[in-house]
Symmetry: C2
Subunit: 111 residues, 2 copies
DNA sequence: CTCCTTTATATCCGTTTTTGATATATCACT
DNA sequence: AGTGATATATCAAAAACGGATATAAAGGAG
Protein backbone atom coordinates (compact mmCIF):
# COMPACT_ATOMS: atom_id res chain seq x y z
CA UNK A 1 0.00 0.00 0.00
CA UNK A 2 1.74 3.08 1.25
CA UNK A 3 5.31 3.06 0.01
CA UNK A 4 6.56 6.57 0.56
CA UNK A 5 7.54 8.23 3.81
CA UNK A 6 4.83 9.61 6.05
CA UNK A 7 5.46 13.33 5.44
CA UNK A 8 5.20 14.92 8.85
CA UNK A 9 4.88 18.59 7.94
CA UNK A 10 2.87 19.46 4.87
CA UNK A 11 4.02 22.35 2.71
CA UNK A 12 1.54 24.94 1.45
CA UNK A 13 0.89 23.45 -2.00
CA UNK A 14 0.56 19.96 -0.54
CA UNK A 15 -1.90 21.27 2.03
CA UNK A 16 -4.00 22.99 -0.62
CA UNK A 17 -4.07 19.93 -2.84
CA UNK A 18 -5.16 17.70 0.03
CA UNK A 19 -7.92 20.18 0.87
CA UNK A 20 -9.04 20.42 -2.75
CA UNK A 21 -9.29 16.65 -3.00
CA UNK A 22 -11.55 16.18 0.00
CA UNK A 23 -14.03 16.53 -2.86
CA UNK A 24 -13.10 14.43 -5.93
CA UNK A 25 -11.31 16.51 -8.56
CA UNK A 26 -8.93 16.10 -11.46
CA UNK A 27 -5.63 17.96 -11.73
CA UNK A 28 -6.72 20.93 -13.74
CA UNK A 29 -9.71 21.45 -11.47
CA UNK A 30 -7.37 21.54 -8.46
CA UNK A 31 -5.43 24.41 -10.00
CA UNK A 32 -8.63 26.36 -10.59
CA UNK A 33 -10.04 25.55 -7.18
CA UNK A 34 -6.99 26.76 -5.28
CA UNK A 35 -6.74 29.93 -7.31
CA UNK A 36 -10.42 30.71 -6.78
CA UNK A 37 -10.49 29.89 -3.07
CA UNK A 38 -7.47 32.08 -2.41
CA UNK A 39 -8.71 34.89 -4.66
CA UNK A 40 -5.69 34.47 -6.86
CA UNK A 41 -3.27 34.77 -3.95
CA UNK A 42 -1.98 31.24 -4.34
CA UNK A 43 -1.45 29.54 -7.65
CA UNK A 44 -0.25 26.03 -8.31
CA UNK A 45 1.33 25.48 -11.71
CA UNK A 46 1.31 22.18 -13.57
CA UNK A 47 4.85 21.26 -12.60
CA UNK A 48 4.20 21.59 -8.89
CA UNK A 49 0.78 20.02 -9.21
CA UNK A 50 1.62 16.80 -10.97
CA UNK A 51 4.81 16.33 -9.00
CA UNK A 52 2.89 16.54 -5.74
CA UNK A 53 0.02 14.37 -6.99
CA UNK A 54 2.51 11.62 -7.67
CA UNK A 55 4.02 11.96 -4.24
CA UNK A 56 0.65 11.99 -2.50
CA UNK A 57 -0.55 8.91 -4.37
CA UNK A 58 2.67 7.21 -3.41
CA UNK A 59 2.15 8.18 0.24
CA UNK A 60 -1.43 6.90 0.04
CA UNK A 61 -2.88 10.23 1.08
CA UNK A 62 -4.85 10.56 -2.15
CA UNK A 63 -5.95 7.97 -4.66
CA UNK A 64 -7.07 7.90 -8.29
CA UNK A 65 -10.70 7.08 -8.93
CA UNK A 66 -10.94 4.06 -11.21
CA UNK A 67 -14.01 5.33 -13.03
CA UNK A 68 -12.53 8.60 -14.27
CA UNK A 69 -13.02 9.64 -17.88
CA UNK A 70 -10.14 9.07 -20.29
CA UNK A 71 -9.07 12.69 -20.50
CA UNK A 72 -9.52 13.41 -16.82
CA UNK A 73 -7.82 11.59 -14.01
CA UNK A 74 -9.86 12.15 -10.91
CA UNK A 75 -8.35 11.88 -7.43
CA UNK A 76 -9.72 11.93 -3.88
CA UNK A 77 -8.18 12.26 -0.47
CA UNK A 78 -8.05 8.88 1.26
CA UNK A 79 -9.01 8.20 4.87
CA UNK A 80 -5.33 8.42 5.74
CA UNK A 81 -5.20 11.71 3.87
CA UNK A 82 -8.09 13.10 5.91
CA UNK A 83 -6.36 12.11 9.13
CA UNK A 84 -3.17 13.71 7.98
CA UNK A 85 -5.07 16.85 7.05
CA UNK A 86 -6.74 17.03 10.46
CA UNK A 87 -3.36 16.56 12.09
CA UNK A 88 -1.92 19.31 9.95
CA UNK A 89 -4.80 21.64 10.79
CA UNK A 90 -3.93 21.20 14.45
CA UNK A 91 -0.25 21.71 13.83
CA UNK A 92 -0.85 24.91 11.89
CA UNK A 93 -3.34 26.16 14.46
CA UNK A 94 -0.76 25.69 17.18
CA UNK A 95 1.75 27.68 15.14
CA UNK A 96 -0.73 30.50 14.67
CA UNK A 97 -1.69 30.45 18.35
CA UNK A 98 1.93 30.56 19.45
CA UNK A 99 2.60 33.54 17.21
CA UNK A 100 -0.51 35.38 18.41
CA UNK A 101 0.41 34.75 22.02
CA UNK A 102 3.95 35.98 21.55
CA UNK A 103 2.78 39.15 19.84
CA UNK A 104 0.19 39.75 22.52
CA UNK A 105 2.75 39.38 25.29
CA UNK A 106 5.03 41.80 23.54
CA UNK A 107 2.15 44.26 23.21
CA UNK A 108 1.43 44.12 26.94
CA UNK A 109 5.03 44.54 27.98
CA UNK A 110 6.50 46.63 25.20
CA UNK A 111 4.09 49.46 25.99
CA UNK B 1 17.97 49.24 3.64
CA UNK B 2 15.94 46.28 2.55
CA UNK B 3 17.64 44.68 -0.41
CA UNK B 4 16.02 41.25 -0.74
CA UNK B 5 12.59 40.45 -2.11
CA UNK B 6 9.59 40.76 0.16
CA UNK B 7 8.94 37.02 0.73
CA UNK B 8 5.19 36.61 0.39
CA UNK B 9 4.65 33.20 1.95
CA UNK B 10 6.80 32.28 4.93
CA UNK B 11 7.95 28.69 5.29
CA UNK B 12 7.71 26.91 8.63
CA UNK B 13 11.27 27.50 9.84
CA UNK B 14 11.14 31.13 8.74
CA UNK B 15 7.88 31.56 10.61
CA UNK B 16 9.27 30.04 13.80
CA UNK B 17 12.40 32.15 13.65
CA UNK B 18 10.40 35.34 13.23
CA UNK B 19 8.22 34.35 16.17
CA UNK B 20 11.24 33.51 18.32
CA UNK B 21 12.78 36.90 17.60
CA UNK B 22 9.81 38.97 18.68
CA UNK B 23 11.81 38.70 21.87
CA UNK B 24 15.57 39.38 21.34
CA UNK B 25 17.53 36.14 21.04
CA UNK B 26 20.76 34.84 19.61
CA UNK B 27 20.95 31.96 17.15
CA UNK B 28 21.51 29.11 19.54
CA UNK B 29 18.70 30.36 21.77
CA UNK B 30 16.35 30.31 18.77
CA UNK B 31 17.06 26.61 18.23
CA UNK B 32 16.32 25.85 21.86
CA UNK B 33 13.24 28.04 21.93
CA UNK B 34 11.62 26.41 18.91
CA UNK B 35 12.38 22.93 20.14
CA UNK B 36 10.93 23.68 23.57
CA UNK B 37 7.83 25.48 22.34
CA UNK B 38 6.98 22.65 19.96
CA UNK B 39 7.80 19.95 22.51
CA UNK B 40 10.51 18.63 20.27
CA UNK B 41 8.18 18.35 17.28
CA UNK B 42 10.04 20.92 15.27
CA UNK B 43 13.80 21.30 15.27
CA UNK B 44 15.90 23.82 13.42
CA UNK B 45 19.50 22.81 12.81
CA UNK B 46 22.39 25.23 12.47
CA UNK B 47 22.48 25.10 8.68
CA UNK B 48 18.83 26.07 8.33
CA UNK B 49 19.09 28.60 11.12
CA UNK B 50 22.02 30.66 9.96
CA UNK B 51 20.95 30.49 6.33
CA UNK B 52 17.56 31.92 7.21
CA UNK B 53 18.96 34.51 9.61
CA UNK B 54 21.04 35.89 6.77
CA UNK B 55 18.06 36.02 4.47
CA UNK B 56 15.84 37.67 7.06
CA UNK B 57 18.43 40.30 7.88
CA UNK B 58 18.77 40.95 4.18
CA UNK B 59 15.00 41.30 3.85
CA UNK B 60 14.99 43.66 6.85
CA UNK B 61 12.56 41.48 8.79
CA UNK B 62 15.03 40.99 11.63
CA UNK B 63 18.08 42.98 12.66
CA UNK B 64 21.21 42.42 14.73
CA UNK B 65 21.44 44.25 18.01
CA UNK B 66 24.59 46.38 18.09
CA UNK B 67 25.22 45.83 21.78
CA UNK B 68 25.41 42.04 21.71
CA UNK B 69 28.21 40.23 23.49
CA UNK B 70 31.16 39.02 21.41
CA UNK B 71 30.21 35.37 21.44
CA UNK B 72 26.49 35.92 20.97
CA UNK B 73 24.92 37.75 18.10
CA UNK B 74 21.51 38.84 19.22
CA UNK B 75 18.74 39.54 16.74
CA UNK B 76 15.22 41.00 16.97
CA UNK B 77 12.28 41.12 14.64
CA UNK B 78 11.94 44.58 13.09
CA UNK B 79 8.69 46.53 12.73
CA UNK B 80 8.51 45.26 9.16
CA UNK B 81 9.03 41.75 10.49
CA UNK B 82 6.16 42.12 12.92
CA UNK B 83 3.89 43.32 10.11
CA UNK B 84 4.94 40.42 7.96
CA UNK B 85 4.30 38.05 10.83
CA UNK B 86 0.81 39.45 11.41
CA UNK B 87 0.11 39.10 7.72
CA UNK B 88 1.33 35.53 7.77
CA UNK B 89 -0.80 34.72 10.81
CA UNK B 90 -3.83 35.82 8.81
CA UNK B 91 -2.78 33.86 5.76
CA UNK B 92 -2.27 30.69 7.77
CA UNK B 93 -5.52 31.21 9.64
CA UNK B 94 -7.38 31.43 6.36
CA UNK B 95 -5.76 28.20 5.20
CA UNK B 96 -6.80 26.45 8.38
CA UNK B 97 -10.31 27.86 8.19
CA UNK B 98 -10.70 26.74 4.60
CA UNK B 99 -9.59 23.24 5.46
CA UNK B 100 -11.92 23.06 8.47
CA UNK B 101 -14.82 24.28 6.41
CA UNK B 102 -14.19 21.76 3.65
CA UNK B 103 -13.97 18.90 6.13
CA UNK B 104 -17.11 20.05 7.87
CA UNK B 105 -19.05 20.22 4.62
CA UNK B 106 -17.90 16.75 3.72
CA UNK B 107 -19.02 15.52 7.12
CA UNK B 108 -22.53 16.91 6.65
CA UNK B 109 -22.92 15.53 3.17
CA UNK B 110 -20.86 12.34 3.26
CA UNK B 111 -23.22 10.77 5.79
C1' DC C 1 -13.74 23.94 -42.14
C1' DT C 2 -10.11 26.52 -39.91
C1' DC C 3 -8.39 29.19 -36.22
C1' DC C 4 -8.15 30.19 -31.53
C1' DT C 5 -8.94 29.55 -26.75
C1' DT C 6 -9.66 26.57 -23.02
C1' DT C 7 -9.16 22.26 -21.01
C1' DA C 8 -6.00 18.70 -19.50
C1' DT C 9 -1.88 16.03 -18.43
C1' DA C 10 3.03 15.69 -18.34
C1' DT C 11 8.05 16.57 -18.07
C1' DC C 12 12.50 19.36 -18.38
C1' DC C 13 15.43 21.85 -15.84
C1' DG C 14 16.91 25.75 -13.26
C1' DT C 15 16.21 28.09 -8.76
C1' DT C 16 15.24 28.12 -4.02
C1' DT C 17 14.95 25.89 0.38
C1' DT C 18 16.24 22.73 3.65
C1' DT C 19 19.39 19.91 6.13
C1' DG C 20 23.07 16.50 7.80
C1' DA C 21 27.71 16.71 8.47
C1' DT C 22 31.53 19.02 9.70
C1' DA C 23 34.59 22.64 11.54
C1' DT C 24 36.00 25.82 14.96
C1' DA C 25 36.13 27.97 19.38
C1' DT C 26 34.69 29.26 24.01
C1' DC C 27 32.86 28.11 28.54
C1' DA C 28 31.77 25.26 32.70
C1' DC C 29 32.81 21.60 35.37
C1' DT C 30 35.42 17.77 37.05
C1' DA D 1 43.48 17.69 30.67
C1' DG D 2 39.07 16.12 29.31
C1' DT D 3 34.21 16.20 28.51
C1' DG D 4 29.83 18.17 27.38
C1' DA D 5 27.21 22.21 26.52
C1' DT D 6 27.24 26.63 24.24
C1' DA D 7 27.75 29.19 19.93
C1' DT D 8 28.48 30.45 15.13
C1' DA D 9 29.39 29.19 10.45
C1' DT D 10 29.82 26.78 5.93
C1' DC D 11 29.78 22.89 2.52
C1' DA D 12 27.60 19.95 -0.30
C1' DA D 13 23.68 17.26 -1.23
C1' DA D 14 18.85 16.47 -1.13
C1' DA D 15 14.21 17.99 -1.47
C1' DA D 16 10.75 21.21 -3.00
C1' DC D 17 9.09 24.47 -6.12
C1' DG D 18 7.85 26.60 -10.47
C1' DG D 19 8.37 28.76 -15.24
C1' DA D 20 8.54 27.18 -19.68
C1' DT D 21 7.47 23.99 -22.88
C1' DA D 22 5.16 20.01 -25.23
C1' DT D 23 1.23 17.48 -26.58
C1' DA D 24 -3.51 16.75 -27.58
C1' DA D 25 -8.42 17.02 -27.53
C1' DA D 26 -12.73 19.80 -27.04
C1' DG D 27 -15.57 23.98 -27.95
C1' DG D 28 -16.82 28.06 -30.18
C1' DA D 29 -16.28 32.00 -33.63
C1' DG D 30 -16.24 33.38 -38.08
Amino acid sequence: MAKGKSLDELTDPVFYILVALVEPRHGYAIMQYVEEETNGMFKIGPATLYTIIKKLVDADLIEAEPDSEPRRKTYVTTAAGISKLEEEIKRRSRMVDLAKEVLQTKGRKGR
